[in-house]
C-alpha cells in the first residue's frame, strides 16, 4: 500500500522526532556512561591492566601511521599502476625475480607494518608470490633507516659493520630461501590471477578520491588485524615478565631461541629494535642477530596482519621456515664471528 503524500512526514517532523529520541536516549546514557567510565578507570588503575593498556595504545599509535602510509602506497599502486604494466616489469626467470625482489626494499623502503598492505596489493596486481614474499620479509631489514639505526646501536661492536652486514645478509638469504621453497611448492598450482585494474574513472571522480578510498579500505582491513595482534602482544608484555624470556638464554642456542621468542612477543618497530638488542650486553652476537633478523619478519602483530595479506599455505611455509633458518644461520654466523674475532 502506498502512503499518500499528505501522510508522509515532513523534514521538519523528522528532525523533531530525531531530537526527541536523542534527548530520551541521552538520559540513560548520561547516567550510565560516567558509571561505566568510573569502573573502567578503576580497572585500568590496577598495575597490570595499566601496563596492558599502555602497551596496547603505544603499539597501535606507533604502528598505525606506517600501516596507513603502506595503505596509501597500496592505493597508489591500485589506481596508477595497471596490472599489464606491472607484468611487463616482472623478470621472467626465477633467479632474476629472486635477485630483484630484495631490491624492492630499497626502491620502496617501508617498515614491517607498512610493507604488508603494499605486498597485499602487489599480489592482487599479479606479482608472483615468491617475489612478493621475498620483498615482504627482506624489505623491512634492508630499509636504509633500519640499517642506519643498526649501525648506530652496534657502533661499539668490532668491526662496526659486522652486525648491520650480518643482519642484511641473513635477511636476504632467509627471504630468498623462503621464496625458493614457495616456488618449489606452488609452481604446479594455477597462477594467481590479477585483479582487473580500473583503467579510468567515470562521473568525474578524481584519481585522488580513489587512492584515498582504497587506502581507507586497506587500512580498515589491516587495522583490524593489527589490533588483534596488538592485543595479544600487549597481553604478553603485561603478563610475561621480560626477565623470564631473558633467563632462558643461559646456553648459546637457547640464548638465540630465547631472544627470538622475545622478538616475537615484544613486537618492536624495526627502526627501534637494534637499540633494544644492543642493550642485552650479556647475550652473544648470534642471539642478538637472531633477535634482529626474526623481529622484522615475524612477530605477533605481523602474523595477524599476514592473515589478511597472504594465502594460508604461504603463511604456513613462512611460519615453519623463517624461525628454523633464523636460528641455524644466526648460530653459524655467530660462530664465524667468534672465529674471526
Amino acid at each position: 500500500m502506498t502512503v499518500p503524500p499528505t501522510a508522509r512526514m515532513s523534514r521538519a517532523d523528522k528532525i523533531k522526532i530525531a531530537v526527541f529520541v536523542a534527548i530520551v536516549a541521552a538520559i540513560p546514557l548520561y547516567l550510565v556512561v560516567p558509571w561505566a567510565q568510573r569502573r573502567l578507570e578503576d580497572f585500568f588503575s590496577l598495575a597490570r591492566a595499566q601496563v596492558f593498556g599502555q602497551v596496547l595504545i603505544a603499539i597501535l599509535l606507533e604502528a598505525f601511521p606506517f600501516v596507513f602510509i603502506g595503505a596509501i602506497v597500496s592505493g597508489l599502486i591500485e589506481v596508477l599502476v595497471p596490472a599489464e604494466k606491472l607484468a611487463r616489469l616482472i623478470p621472467k626467470s626465477l633467479p632474476a625475480r629472486l635477485a630483484v625482489a630484495p631490491l624492492l626494499g630499497i626502491i620502496l623502503p617501508v617498515c614491517e607494518c607498512g610493507v604488508v598492505p603494499v605486498v597485499r596489493r602487489l599480489i592482487k596486481k599479479g606479482l608472483p608470490l615468491e617475489m612478493a614474499v621475498v620483498y615482504l620479509l627482506s624489505g623491512p631489514i634492508l630499509n636504509p633507516i633500519v640499517l642506519a639505526s643498526t649501525v648506530m646501536a652496534f657502533s661499539r661492536t668490532r668491526p662496526w659493520w659486522a652486525m648491520p652486514a650480518a643482519r642484511a645478509g641473513l635477511g636476504i638469504l632467509i627471504a630468498v630461501t623462503v621464496g625458493l621453497v614457495l616456488f618449489a611448492t606452488t609452481r604446479k598450482r594455477p597462477a594467481e590471477t590479477a585483479d582487473a585494474a580500473p583503467e579510468s574513472y567515470g562521473h568525474g571522480e578524481s584519481a585522488l578520491v580513489h587512492i584515498l578510498h582504497h587506502a581507507a579500505n586497506d587500512f580498515l582491513l589491516l587495522g583490524g588485524f593489527l589490533l588483534m595482534g596488538s592485543l595479544i602482544a600487549a597481553g604478553a608484555q603485561a603478563f610475561v615478565p621480560r626477565t623470564i624470556l631473558v633467563s632462558i638464554g643461559q646456553t648459546p642456542v637457547a640464548a638465540s631461541a630465547g631472544m627470538m621468542a622475545l622478538a616475537f612477543v615484544l613486537n618492536l618497530c624495526s627502526e627501534a629494535d637494534a637499540f633494544v638488542a644492543a642493550s642485552f650486553v650479556q647475550f652473544t652476537f648470534a642471539s642478538k642477530l637472531a633477535f634482529l633478523v626474526l623481529g622484522p619478519m615475524l612477530d605477533v602483530k605481523l602474523v595477524a596482519m599476514y592473515l589478511a595479506a597472504l594465502p594460508r599455505r604461504v603463511l604456513v611455509i613462512v611460519l615453519l621456515v623463517v624461525p628454523v633458518l633464523t636460528l641455524v644461520l644466526s648460530e653459524l654466523v655467530g660462530w664465524l664471528y667468534g672465529v674471526a674475532a
Binding site: 567510565q37 573502567l40 578507570e41 585500568f44 588503575s45 598495575a47 595499566q50 601496563v51 593498556g53 599502555q54 602497551v55 596496547l56 595504545i57 603505544a58 603499539i59 599509535l61 606507533e62 598505525f64 596507513f68 602510509i69 596509501i72 646501536a153 585483479d195 580500473p198 583503467e199 579510468s200 574513472y201 567515470g202 562521473h203 571522480e205 578520491v209 584515498l212 578510498h213 582504497h214 587506502a215 581507507a216 579500505n217 580498515l220 582491513l221 587495522g223 583490524g224 589490533l227 592485543l231 602482544a233 615478565p241 621480560r242 626477565t243 631473558v246 615484544l266 613486537n267 618492536l268 618497530c269 627501534a272 637499540f275 633494544v276 644492543a278 642493550s279 642485552f280 650486553v281 650479556q282
Partner: protein, 248 residues
C-alpha cells in the same frame, strides 16, 4: 574497451572507525598525552596520519553520497569492500573492534609505565644492571653541575665515577619487597619509539625514610653518589609531579 569502475561505497559501519580513530588520536595529541605512549617525534607522525585518516573519512563520505545519488537515479552500484576480503557478516564486529582501543585509551590514567613494568623489565635485577653501560649511548640527558636536575641515567653514570658527587635526580619510586627498608629504586624509562620498547633505568637510593614512599610516586632526590656502595645516598627526598614527558 577500457573498464570504468566506481569506488565502492563504504557503509557507515566502515566509515566510523576512521572518524573515531582519527578523533581519538587528535584528542590524545591535543591533551598532551602522546608522550605517555610515544617519543615526541612519533607523536607528531601519528597526528599527521590521523589528519589524513580524517581526510579519508571525508572522502569516503563523499563517495557514499555520490553513490547514493547515483543509486537514486537508477544506476547499479556496489557496496562494501573493494576487494571483497572481509565477509560482510563480520563487517559490524570488525568495525566495533575499533572501539576497544579507544575505550581503553580514554580510561587509562595519565601516567607513564609503572613500577610493575619496571620490575618486569628487569629494574634492579643484577643481570640487567649491565644494560646501563650499553644504554648510555642513547641518553639525551642534559646534565648540569651540582644539584642541576639530572635524569636517573645521569646519576647512574656518576655511580661509576671514582669520587662521590652531589646530584639531584628525578624519577619514580619502585620498592622491591626483597630490598632493605631503607632503600628504593629511582626509575625512569628510556624509550626509542614507544612504550613497548621502554627499558627501565634504575638507580638504588638509600634513604632512612624510604619505607614512607609508595610505588609509582614521582620524587626529587637530593644527595650524593657513593661509588663504593653503587648507590645514591639521599639527604632529602621531595614529592614532585610527573614530568610532561615521563620518559627519556
Amino acid at each position: 574497451m577500457t573498464a570504468t569502475k566506481h569506488a565502492p561505497r563504504l557503509t557507515w559501519w566502515e566509515l566510523w572507525p576512521m572518524l573515531g580513530w582519527g578523533l581519538f588520536v587528535a584528542y590524545i595529541y591535543a591533551k598532551g598525552r602522546m608522550t605517555l605512549f610515544l617519543r615526541p617525534l612519533y607523536g607528531h607522525l601519528a597526528m599527521g596520519a590521523a589528519a589524513v585518516l580524517l581526510l579519508c573519512f571525508v572522502c569516503g563520505w563523499f563517495v557514499r553520497r555520490r553513490s547514493l545519488k547515483r543509486e537514486a537515479e537508477g544506476e547499479p552500484v556496489h557496496e562494501g569492500h573493494a576487494c571483497g576480503e572481509a565477509p560482510s557478516a563480520w563487517r559490524y564486529v570488525w568495525s566495533l573492534a575499533f572501539l576497544v582501543p579507544i575505550i581503553i585509551g580514554l580510561a587509562l590514567p595519565e601516567r607513564g609505565l609503572n613500577a610493575l613494568a619496571a620490575l618486569q623489565r628487569g629494574a634492579g635485577d643484577p643481570a640487567m644492571a649491565a644494560e646501563l653501560a650499553a644504554q648510555q649511548q642513547l641518553a639525551e640527558a642534559r646534565e648540569e653541575q651540582g644539584y642541576g636536575w639530572t635524569t636517573v641515567l645521569g646519576v647512574a653514570q656518576r655511580l661509576t665515577m671514582p669520587e662521590a658527587q652531589k646530584v639531584g635526580a628525578i624519577g619514580f619510586v619502585v620498592r622491591n619487597e626483597k630490598a632493605p627498608a631503607d632503600q628504593f629504586l629511582l626509575v625512569r624509562f628510556q624509550i626509542v619509539c614507544c612504550a613497548a620498547d621502554a627499558s627501565p633505568m634504575a638507580v638504588p637510593v638509600k634513604w632512612a625514610e624510604a619505607h614512607t614512599l609508595e610505588n609509582n610516586q614521582w620524587v626529587k632526590v637530593f644527595g650524593r653518589t657513593d661509588p663504593k656502595a653503587k648507590a645514591l645516598i639521599a639527604d632529602k627526598v621531595e614529592p614532585t609531579r610527573q614530568p610532561a614527558n615521563p620518559y627519556m
